[in-house]
């Protein structure tokens, strides 16, 4: 494990990934300091104006909204839109900062649960074999036959809006890869003599899977999971972009891109007029996904058994 960490830090591309990830972690942790919430719900992006048109960076809060805060007797901790506002006056900077937390939440939770389900089903299926394997793998096949994005979209539509619904949809259609992966590894690992030796000592099946087989087979799953964190965030963003994801005004990068949908082409004669509406959330998504992919790539190179000896 130490060797793995050393390699991660000595490889240039993974170092970039680690630095990026580190920055995102800092942003997520310090979100209340970087962008103090103006209302009770910190994940609700504050509006800087009622105007439909996006406002450029440096825009300061419109008077009629100031009046509301005054009326409610609230202190304005800040009133300048550093990155401008999106459609409807939503503050982009605030959305980016708190959206980082959302991205981590979506990525880590969905991948962790999906990987757990996949590993559970895959290892049971491979270890016991026979009709258990047959049934579990056919169920996996059924889930695999749905196109991921469309299936997730339909399920979110059925469940209703909200981040938790998005995550449920992503988990429901995101565990099959892990199941297939771990099943393959365990099918070959369970033929090893040490499994027979453990059985001959009377070790329980569950313990054999957990203590003997999984430590030998879990690495490909870990690589896959790392790479998947990025794509889960992308899919969640896509769902939000299509309008079935997070509720309106929720700090979520995908939703912020969707706010930009009508403004991407700018105005006649000035194509770049509303560049900030799509650029900032876009670059955050790209960098976040890139960070995970770089780390995942290097992890794969390090943990690939065929390359292990040579590295």
């Amino acid at each position: 494990m130490n060797r793995t960490l050393r390699k991660l830090f000595s490889n240039a591309s993974s170092l970039v990934g680690i630095v990026l990830l580190f920055v995102f972690i800092i942003i997520a942790i310090l979100a209340p300091v970087i962008a103090p919430p103006l209302s009770e719900d910190p994940y609700q992006i504050p509006r800087m104006s009622w105007d439909v048109n996006p406002q450029p960076p440096g825009f300061s809060m419109s008077d009629n909204i100031r009046d509301i805060y005054d009326y409610m007797g609230k202190d304005l901790k800040w009133d300048i839109s550093i990155c401008g506002t999106a459609e409807g006056g939503y503050d982009i900077f605030y959305g980016l900062i708190w959206g980082t937390r959302t991205a981590f939440r979506i990525g880590l939770i969905t991948v962790a649960i999906a990987a757990f389900i996949g590993v559970f089903i895959g290892s049971i299926s491979a270890y016991f074999g026979g009709w258990i394997d047959e049934i579990l793998m056919r169920i996996t096949d059924i889930f695999l036959s749905f196109p991921f994005l469309v299936a997730a979209m339909v399920l979110t539509t059925i469940l209703g809006r909200g981040l938790d619904k998005v995550m449920i949809a992503l988990i429901t259609f995101g565990w099959m890869g892990y199941a297939r992966l771990i099943r393959g590894s365990i099918l070959s690992a369970k033929e090893e003599t040490y499994v027979m030796a453990a059985k001959a000592l009377g070790v329980k099946d569950i313990k054999i899977i957990w203590k003997h087989l999984l430590p030998n087979t879990i690495f490909p799953v870990m690589v896959q999971a790392t790479m998947n964190i990025g794509s889960m965030v992308i899919t969640a963003a896509a769902l939000s972009f299509l309008g079935v994801g997070a509720p309106v005004g929720y700090a979520d990068w995908g939703q912020m891109v969707s706010f930009a949908r009508n403004w991407i082409i700018g105005s006649p004669g000035n194509a770049g007029q509303y560049w900030f509406t799509v650029f900032y959330p876009g670059i955050f998504i790209v960098l976040f996904v890139l960070a995970w992919n770089l780390i995942g790539d290097t992890l794969r190179d390090i943990l690939d058994p065929r390359l292990r000896g040579e590295l």
Partner: protein, 339 residues
């Protein structure tokens, strides 16, 4: 057998284990009977693929699909193991009957420490704490003569040499004081000097625990060293069964005789090594009659048509052959090594 005064520990009766493959039924073990007495060692000898290991796995009930024990009885301490539930069987494995495997390189899990693998069985069968189990593991490693056991207990298998891994395997198998130990070619993967050490170790441990041993091997030297009685297997059946002296001095089956004469000798001038011609028959297409007949130089028409039963030639000496008298003549010529 003759040792009626001794206590019977394991009795295998008419054990049949078949593999149901796509190409047909492979009769890996086809009607095997033998007994193991308390404190004694039974040697099971035979070529590769004659059913030795499958016999062992059948006793432990460790075979998975497509292998299945179709009939027979395995009576251990008066109870039929084949009738036990999977849970009862799990409690017997490791605690009552333990097994040592052929390849110490692969029989230890590479990602777990030696100490963990030994204490795992201890913790489960005796319900003791991790700390106690680890302490006992160190004692066991000391018993199997591994130097600096306090340090070795925390090491991973790849940090140990082949001989040491086999010692660790023995420690694992011995951890719960089993009454019966099944050793499946425990010395095959080791070089000769280490083999001798391991055999000595096993002998002294067996004496200490007063346990019984089933030693599965193709190495007659190992058998001569350790066994009390010997079962010679060929193509899934026992072809000769007797005590060690009888097998080595007066074998009556042509196969046993062939095995013994193919041991190279230093005291007799020999231009070529004696071999048994031919190979083990394909288990999907066994020859009719005696399964050894295509390779047997004594074979007659009767051998090709009718399979001989296990004939009792004297008390405690069973042979599966129609031509015992012919073999006797050959044996009298004095080609055998002797013990």
């Amino acid at each position: 057998m003759i040792k009626d005064n001794k206590k019977l520990l394991l009795e295998v009766k008419n054990l049949k284990t078949y593999f149901f493959t796509e190409d047909g039924i492979v009769k890996a073990v086809d009607g095997v009977d033998f007994e193991v007495y308390k404190g004694e060692t039974l040697g099971v000898v035979g070529e590769s693929a004659c059913g030795k290991s499958v016999t062992a796995f059948s006793i432990m009930r460790l075979l998975d699909y497509p292998g299945k024990t179709v009939s027979g009885e395995v009576i251990f301490k008066g109870e039929n193991l084949l009738k036990k539930t999977e849970d009862e069987m799990r409690r017997i494995r490791g605690k009552e009957i333990a097994m040592i495997f052929q390849e110490p390189m692969t029989a230890l899990n590479p990602v777990l420490t030696v100490g963990f693998q030994i204490s795992e069985a201890l913790m489960m069968h005796f319900k003791i704490s991790k700390k106690e189990a680890l302490k006992k593991s160190i004692e066991l490693l000391k018993k199997v003569e591994i130097p600096i056991p306090e340090q070795r207990v925390n090491e991973y298998p790849h940090q140990l040499s082949g001989g040491m891994r086999q010692r660790a395997m023995i420690a694992m198998a011995m951890s719960c004081d089993p009454t019966l130990l099944i050793a499946d070619e425990p010395t095959t993967a080791l070089d000769v000097t280490i083999q001798a050490q391991i055999l000595d170790l096993m002998k002294s441990l067996l004496r200490e625990f007063n346990g019984s041993l089933i030693m599965i091997t193709h190495d007659l030297g190992v058998i001569a060293e350790i066994a009390d009685s010997i079962a010679v297997m060929y193509a899934g059946k026992i072809v000769e069964y007797a005590d060690k002296r009888t097998i080595f001095y007066t074998p009556l089956h042509p196969y046993t005789f062939g095995l013994l004469t193919s041991i190279p000798r230093l005291d007799v001038e020999m231009k070529r090594l004696n071999v048994i011609p031919g190979i083990v028959p394909n288990p999907l297409h066994f020859p009719t009659g005696c399964k050894f007949n295509p390779r047997c130089r004594f074979a007659t028409n009767k051998c090709r048509e009718e399979e001989p039963p296990l004939i009792k030639v004297e008390e405690g000496h069973l042979v599966r052959c129609w031509n015992i008298d012919k073999v006797v003549k050959e044996v009298k010529k004095g080609l055998l090594v002797g013990v």
